[in-house]
């Protein structure tokens, strides 16, 4: 299932913004089954076991309109618990508490229920030892380094004024103290130098790209004019394949809106394709990416 990407479209009389975690659970179950070829519960149990600490890295920068939907994050959290993980071993996180709160998440630092907090929580913070990999030298969130055996990356599908597209690999700019240093040259090779650090690469075993809404231009911040309903989730174990699928969807939406291709705007996300090549080899890109699609009716 390495380079397979599953695209689950949600068909429902509800508005996209009204889809809740139960709706998303249904879509996610089907998506995980299509991805793994086995029952979703069996897949999650085999992937994570029952004692692992699993954290869900969301992206709330684009709040209030283009953040990871809490329904998606709580949807997968619910499935993880149903698959046998203790609630307190599941943590939803991002860099800042205020962004999580504004995105609708309920902060929970306790040992009861699914936990949710930002790196800026008092007592959490960043490591004091510098992590150096390639051109990147950063302090990593302690949620990543100390509270995560595995990470599920749950970014949101967005255009980015500097690197063209932002998805699962760039999501980890939200796990370091100095992301502002790495936006030159279309964020290349910074996204890859960061994501290829073993402490990240080895933990991120599953990615779910939230395409409920898509910011097809003017991202990564929320820009109401260019936000479209996507009503889809993209799921893969391969971060490169997933980002390629997300990028292709973004281009498709941009075309439908009469926007120029990212290459013509000099914002082509070259990093996705570099990620598949040496020295990174973080996954598969190009024509060998297999995308399977299904519509789930609710």
């Amino acid at each position: 299932m390495g380079s397979r990407v599953v695209e689950i479209s949600v068909k429902s009389p509800k508005k996209a913004a009204s889809l809740d975690y139960r709706d998303m659970s249904i879509a996610l179950r089907r998506g995980l089954e299509m991805l793994s070829g086995m029952g979703w519960k069996q897949y999650l149990a085999s992937r994570f076991g029952k004692r692992a600490k699993v954290t869900l890295k969301v992206n709330c920068l684009g709040v209030p309109g283009i953040q990871t939907r809490k329904a998606v994050a709580y949807g997968i959290a619910d499935l993880l618990v149903q698959a046998g993980l203790s609630e307190s071993n599941v943590t939803i996180w991002d860099r800042q508490n205020d962004e999580l709160v504004r995105a609708g998440f309920r902060l929970n630092y306790s040992s009861s229920g699914v936990r949710c907090f930002g790196t800026d929580t008092y007592g959490v913070g960043y490591e004091s030892e510098l992590m150096v990999n390639g051109e990147v030298g950063s302090l990593l969130s302690r949620i990543l380094t100390r509270m995560s055996d595995f990470v599920i990356s749950i970014p949101v599908l967005k255009d980015h004024i500097l690197c063209g597209y932002t998805g699962t690999m760039k999501n980890f700019f939200g796990a370091i103290n100095n992301p502002n240093k790495y936006h030159m040259n279309g964020c290349n090779p910074y996204i890859l130098d960061l994501f290829s650090a073993p402490v990240i690469k080895n933990r991120v075993v599953l990615s779910i790209l939230d395409g409920t809404f898509v910011q097809c231009n003017g991202g990564p911040s929320f820009n109401a004019r260019w936000r479209e309903e996507g009503r889809a989730l993209y799921i893969s174990e391969d971060p490169v394949s997933l980002d390629q699928a997300g990028y292709e969807k973004l281009e498709e939406l941009r075309r439908s809106k009469g926007l120029l291709p990212l290459r013509e705007e000099k914002r082509f996300p070259q990093y996705i394709f570099d990620a598949a090549r040496p020295p990174y080899e973080l996954g598969v890109a190009g024509e060998s990416v297999e995308t399977v699609r299904e519509v789930v009716g609710l």
Binding site: L61, G62, D120, G125, Y126, L130, V132, G137, L139, I161, L162, N177, N178, N180, K181, H183, M184, G218, G219, P220, S221, F222, N223, R225
Partner: protein, 385 residues
């Protein structure tokens, strides 16, 4: 600041011991060894003051016009410096009146060797920097966002009052990069001028011409870290550009504001004698032979840990090259006890200011002239009445 002979040698011994270790101490320990730490109450919030130099672009995007990087910043995003944030199309400086480091230092520590020798300087910094030098010795604050540092709440008036109370002749904007806290620095300088406390700036010089020219009349002196004399080094090691820095140096020199230059000599990366000679000639022709040049010793840290410290012999050879090229005042830095720490009269060659690390021994400059031969020694040695 007058000290006795005993105090001088005791301080020198302590200071030399703290420096003669293979790897320099962390900033806070260095400061503790050589300056006076000052305690203030911490601030839990950041500033929301509007920044000065930016332009609104399409939608809510803005373009920062403070430094040559000209960051294009989306809503709720920050520029490269990490301390300026776009909030709904309004650009905010998060660190106005929020320094994370405040100390009283000898002015020689900046280093300024031709400004008020042996005086104390009220030194401060905020989080953030608009470059990312691989050898940065203060990366814990310069490469951090203000949420990640412990910040004080000190208005420009507070800074000036504390500087006067501490017996400081100057306020130094130093440690990280004052360009990123431009508005705060500017306001402190204005408040200081009204109260008779001068401002000195320690910077990489990576700033746009307009804000630089508006700042210069407000400050007494600027020390620029010229990191190298080739663009490639700036691109790879500094993550910036050389050209705007050279333009800035010319602006400073022609403004009448006192200028000194520090050049950190990194083995194999920027220690080419040919380039050094070219740089010295450029300084002489474009800025003036009187501009002091400090050649500083590199110690491995931050992202450049795989290089050895600069050999002292390299520093001495490069110093000779710069003197031969016509520069009058060339110093060796970060080498305690080196003869290159002293100031020599460019005419009679006699030692006129002796130093050990940050401390002054004898000073034979009288009314801006060599006490031995009467040659003019450029600098600001006494405060004008």
């Amino acid at each position: 600041m007058k000290i006795s002979r005993r105090q001088f040698f005791t301080a020198c011994g302590t200071c030399a011991a703290s420096l003669l270790v293979p790897r320099p101490e962390s900033l806070s320990r260095m400061v503790a060894a050589t300056g006076d730490a000052i305690a203030f109450s911490l601030s839990s919030d950041l500033s929301d003051r509007e920044a000065k130099y930016y332009e609104r672009k399409q939608g809510l995007e803005i373009e920062c016009l403070l430094c040559p990087r000209k960051c294009l910043v989306g809503d709720r995003e920050r520029g490269y410096c990490g301390v300026r944030e776009n909030r709904g199309g309004k650009y905010i400086t998060l660190i106005h009146s929020r320094p994370c480091t405040v100390h009283v230092d000898p002015i020689e520590k900046k280093p300024f060797f031709h400004v008020y020798p042996a005086s104390r300087s009220f030194s401060m910094a905020t989080a953030g920097c608009n470059v990312n030098c691989k050898f940065c010795q203060n990366w814990e604050i310069s490469q951090s966002r203000p949420e990640q540092t412990r910040n004080y709440r000190l208005s420009p008036e507070d800074i000036v009052r504390k500087a006067k109370e501490s017996g400081c002749m100057t306020i130094a904007y130093t440690y990280s990069e004052p360009v990123v806290f431009y508005e705060y620095m500017y306001d402190c300088a204005v408040a200081g001028n009204e109260a008779g406390v001068d401002s000195i700036v320690v910077t990489a010089g990576y700033i746009q011409e307009k804000p630089l020219k508006e700042l210069l009349p407000k400050v007494l002196a600027v020390k620029v870290d010229l990191k190298a004399f080739e663009e490639e080094y700036y691109k790879k090691i500094v993550r910036g550009e050389l050209k705007p820095v050279l333009d800035g140096l010319v602006s400073i020199a022609s403004s009448g504001t006192w200028l000194e230059i520090v050049y950190l000599v990194v083995p194999t990366l920027n220690d080419d004698p040919t380039l050094m000679k070219r740089m010295a000639v450029w300084i002489k022709n474009e800025l003036g032979a009187h501009v002091p040049l400090h050649l500083s010793r590199f110690y491995p840290q931050y992202l450049l840990r795989d290089l050895p410290p600069t050999p002292v012999s390299t520093l001495r050879r490069l110093r000779e090259i710069c003197i031969d090229a016509g520069l009058k005042y060339v110093y060796v830095g970060n080498v305690p006890g080196d003869p290159g720490e002293h100031t020599y009269c460019p005419r009679c060659g006699k030692r006129i200011i002796s130093r050990l690390v940050y401390f002054i021994g004898e000073n034979h400059v009288r009314n801006g002239k060599c006490a031995h031969c009467g040659e003019k020694i450029e600098g600001i040695f006494e405060k004008k009445a």
